[in-house]
Subunit: 155 residues, 2 copies
DNA sequence: GCAGTTTGTTATACGTGATAACATTCGATG
DNA sequence: CATCGAATGTTATCACGTATAACAAACTGC
């Protein structure tokens, strides 16, 4: 029952394990792909010292200037508590401004600084290259949209 | 350049942020989908107190009995160092055996115990249900295979 | 004005992945 | 056989991401 025939790969060779079932798992492949993609992201963005989460914050703030921390955090699925250090870090680098709102003195309204916008443009270039590379791997733009649609349904 | 017009959704409403670009990112969607899938996994497997990584180890060992720790770890993309506690945990629960190999006294050969096999059968049932649920969300078996193929290319 | 809620914040804990160092053992080569 | 390099399992440690609890300040609704 264990040793299989020619229908599947042999599992007695030293090289590849029999991983039919294990690697067929959606969750497993999802995790592997995500780790791989993030790893490539980290490599490409190393020169900018920018992490994926930070990039997504900059993009979202750029597209939604003046929003509160909580709103940006919630939109990205990040807990308020965990967002604090993230925002403070970007602020310390001069990329992000946290302006106090007159109508609500608790809230911080997020804006990009001038250099934040310049920095983001640079980051966007890098990211576009990365995304193009992914599209190439996937085999075309239509495959990319298909992937995004499928991932959406899982979320 | 920054404020856009009617071509995209308005971003002044209180509900949804403008997230065209941010949410269009492959890495971002991948991360969100992976978190969502893992969360569902954790919920379903809560009764068994089994984590995703542990499940994948049991499956792989079941299909490749007698392999060394390093081999199983490498096949799952887990570092040797991080695999130790994982394997010891499964051994402590009586699911896994780590037999010393005569031909190589450094190595541990991994096998499932009898109760490990029973336990795994139970886990496989749960996982099959979960996977079926995913397939349903994806819209069919062919979409599942498409997704797996696309993820494979990204890895 | 008060009660309950929201916002930002700190502290803390857990899980995962990565690296470095180490002892033991193996393999190959002199 | 002796030695050197590599492999194996292990421990300790670190960096990150995520989660919860608690808190002060401020807002909202009654």
């Amino acid at each position: 029952m264990s040793t299989d025939n020619a229908l599947v790969e042999q599992d007695d060779a030293e090289g590849g394990l029999n991983s039919q079932a294990a690697l067929g798992l959606i969750g497993y492949r999802l995790r592997r792909a995500q780790l791989s993609v993030f790893q490539r992201f980290l490599t490409v963005f190393e020169s900018l010292a920018l992490r994926p989460a930070e990039y997504s914050v900059l993009v979202l703030v750029d597209e939604n200037p003046g929003r509160k921390q909580s709103e940006i955090a919630a939109a990205l699925g990040i807990k308020r508590a965990n967002f604090v250090a993230l925002a403070q870090g970007l602020e310390a680098r001069g990329l992000l401004e946290r302006l106090s709102v007159e109508s609500d003195r608790r809230a911080n309204a997020l804006h990009l600084t001038a250099s934040g916008r310049i920095f983001l443009a640079e980051a966007r270039d890098l990211h576009d290259q990365l995304e193009s590379d992914f599209v190439e791997r996937l085999g075309g733009e239509s495959q990319r949209e298909q992937l995004l649609a499928l991932l959406e349904r899982l979320t």
